[in-house]
Symmetry: C2
Subunit: 431 residues, 2 copies
């Protein structure tokens, strides 16, 4: 019976270990047979190392299919190989699970695979250092986001993904039978997070949300990860500062602590203005700029994908668009004092891509009811939500950040499917 435990990861093998016994677990990436011995490259989650195999083990190594899971044990010695300062002279060479060839993709990345093939074999694709780097960065970013929000006094919450009413009109919701009733999958925690400011003051949630949208783009999925915050007694410009801090901290962490993963993903350094501030354009400024560029737009028009692409060419990197026309924004968005055609709202853009949407919310139940009616929604179907506004709702602001899209931007990926382990779209339900 093989001992499955290892003592070290590949990256830990250094000259300080020369003469020591080690056990390494990983997979066979390469074997070079030179007769009496073989050089085996073994990779694990941290990197690659070289194993020198002799005797009976040579045949075993030569016959082992690439990508098989192995565990080796032996003595660390200095190496003459240019890529490895040390190597392992193998005493025990055990194949744990043989890989079955042909493999659906080449996880070394030497042979490029079609995106769909990679997604079909995602687990194997994670042996490609570039793919692995993206998901290590994704994990690292979540920590920075949470630490930043906690540092600002936000409490992590879990709100339900199963909801009882198709509140925002019911479009694009997945519905299902729920013990003789109808239930839906949440598109966002919007209503819950607003209610929670009543007692918890500042809340955040990072979770999956669902949209039954028949989109075929590089930036839409039916299931996505959203970072949502909501805070009492903050105005919209305060939570824009918070966006800046969250995104800025992730970028700094990646640039400072994850250079290796960034490089593996093909990114040298993520640019983020020298003053760590993000430009704040108003909707009307954007309109002026676009009209000058020949776009036919007037106040109240939404900015089309084409318009946003043009804007993204004029404003490289991140920028906010704020003070949108009120009628373009959802019922819960607060109007701007002094100009009620405008709203206390903002989007964070990166080029044409919308990453964040947020704003100050209405806290007055009467105005909220009026806005529902104005937007053709039925206040009765929001009764569960509206009642919380009769319990002394504080003024509050918040935002939702599409984490998958942020990861696209930061890892230089052109398709959201590159930064989601098992993406879901109209065509893809497996693996």
């Amino acid at each position: 019976m093989v001992d499955i435990h290892r003592t070290h990861y590949a990256r830990q093998l250094g000259e300080d270990l020369v003469g020591k016994q080690v056990r390494i677990g990983g997979w066979i990436e390469d074997v070079r047979d030179i007769g009496k011995l073989a050089f085996v490259t073994i990779r694990d989650v941290t990197g690659a190392c070289q194993a020198i195999v002799t005797g009976d083990n040579v045949q075993a190594a030569v016959q082992a299919p690439r990508q098989s899971a192995v565990i080796i044990a032996g003595t660390v010695q200095k190496s003459k190989a240019k890529d490895f300062p040390v190597e392992v002279k193998v005493a025990e060479f055990a194949i744990l699970t043989k890989a079955v060839h042909p493999l659906p993709i080449d996880p070394t990345g030497r042979v490029e695979s079609a995106p769909d093939k990679r997604l079909d074999a995602r687990a194997l694709d994670l042996r490609n250092p570039k793919t692995a780097a993206i998901f290590h960065l994704r994990s690292a970013g979540l920590k920075v986001v949470r630490d930043t929000l906690r540092g600002e006094g936000f409490v992590e919450v879990n709100t339900p993904k199963i909801i009882g009413s198709a509140s925002e009109g019911g479009a694009n919701l997945f519905g299902f039978d729920y013990f003789k009733r109808k239930a839906y999958l949440a598109q966002s925690p919007q209503l819950y997070k607003e209610q929670l400011t009543l007692g918890l003051d500042r809340v955040f949630e990072i979770g999956p949300y669902f949209r039954a949208e028949n989109s075929h783009t590089v930036r839409h999925l039916t299931e996505f990860t959203s970072i949502d915050v909501e805070a009492a007694f903050l105005d919209y410009e305060d939570v824009m500062d918070l966006v800046e801090k969250v995104v800025g901290n992730v970028i700094r962490d990646f640039n400072e602590n994850h250079r290796v993963e960034l490089a593996a993903a093909g990114v040298q350094e993520i640019p983020f203005g020298s003053n760590k501030k993000i430009d704040r354009l108003t909707y009307e400024q954007c309109l002026d700029e676009l009209v000058k560029e020949g776009e036919k737009l007037s106040f109240g028009d939404d900015l089309s994908d084409a318009a946003l692409r043009k804007l993204g060419e004029m404003h490289r990197g991140f920028y906010f668009i704020m003070d949108w026309p009120l009628k373009l924004k959802p019922f819960y968005i607060h109007e701007k004092e002094g100009n009620e055609k405008l709203s206390k709202s903002f989007d964070l853009q990166h080029g044409y891509l919308e990453l964040v949407s947020g704003g100050r919310r209405l806290h007055d139940p009467e105005r909220l009811r009026s806005r529902l009616v104005e937007q053709g929604l039925n206040p009765a179907s929001f009764s569960e939500h509206l009642k919380a506004f009769d319990w002394g709702m504080p003024p509050h602001s918040g935002w939702g950040l599409g984490y998958d899209r942020l990861m696209m931007v930061l890892t230089g990926s052109q398709n959201v499917r590159d930064v989601v382990l098992y993406p879901r779209d109209t065509d893809r339900l497996t693996p």
Copy 2:
């Protein structure tokens, strides 16, 4: 227009601020009118403070419904009140949103409310310091869990909640129409997390899962939060050590850093054996103990709720039950070498309550296929999963921890609904 920004939280008001201007945002908990002035207790997320209101503001304060959202500004001065070292002499007193009475529950907790009424008014219930404490602890625990797992080299992942096949038989799954196909809500990330060990080595996920179970108990919900881990090259006893570390760190953090919240929840200190180890009983030991107590059980029988309650009386606090009969465990569980009737499996119990289930997994595709057949499952419907085992699957172990249940135990709650903000069960879909 009222400035909605505050400068301080209630808990921050101390003698160091005497003479300083402050703005406090919160809600009116109490008003005592003594003629020319009124004492107003204002509570926010951190605690309560006293405001001294004079002049025109007295009438406003006296007439303000309790629980209304307010913001006050004034000067900090020493107080003669026994509960407050300092108080705020109010210059500005602004009611932001009036509470509408009668309120559905008394959030001060002075009048006890029925559990269902509290859930119907959860946002208001969060103004009850006991309820708030539970959810502050819940948030704090998530940080400790994540930090512990990251410290052990685990990568945070997000696997899909929408799945394409009812893989483990289809019982208790919520199903729905998905672009002319059938999709389901995931009950666990089991298959995904196993696959991911192929490249990411150690993964964890904290997310919502769904069970269409017609249960009416204090410990089952249709939507629950699970902490899942899976690790290559670890055996089941290694991941039991990890359970011990994760649970132990949460308990230590609560006992050391969250005494106030624990006390508010009604817990003095969470006991956790002096050596921070959790007893490891085998299934067969448990069987012997139960038979001695008169239970009619023989090898291979599952332990009923009644049996577990009896066991819980004999073993107070946390304990593991390990080495279950193989046939009682899911197809992916590894048999014990040397006794193939037993499995490398474990549950973490607290009294009768199962908190964690885990074990070593099969990594050999042939044995996995045989086990599927033995258990009456069709390997063909697992083809998407099985193919990953042909890519050099490492030996691996893992577990799933029901976070809601852990929070029940740690906060001394008798009902899982006390530790979930918006619980979902067969009857409850709102708010």
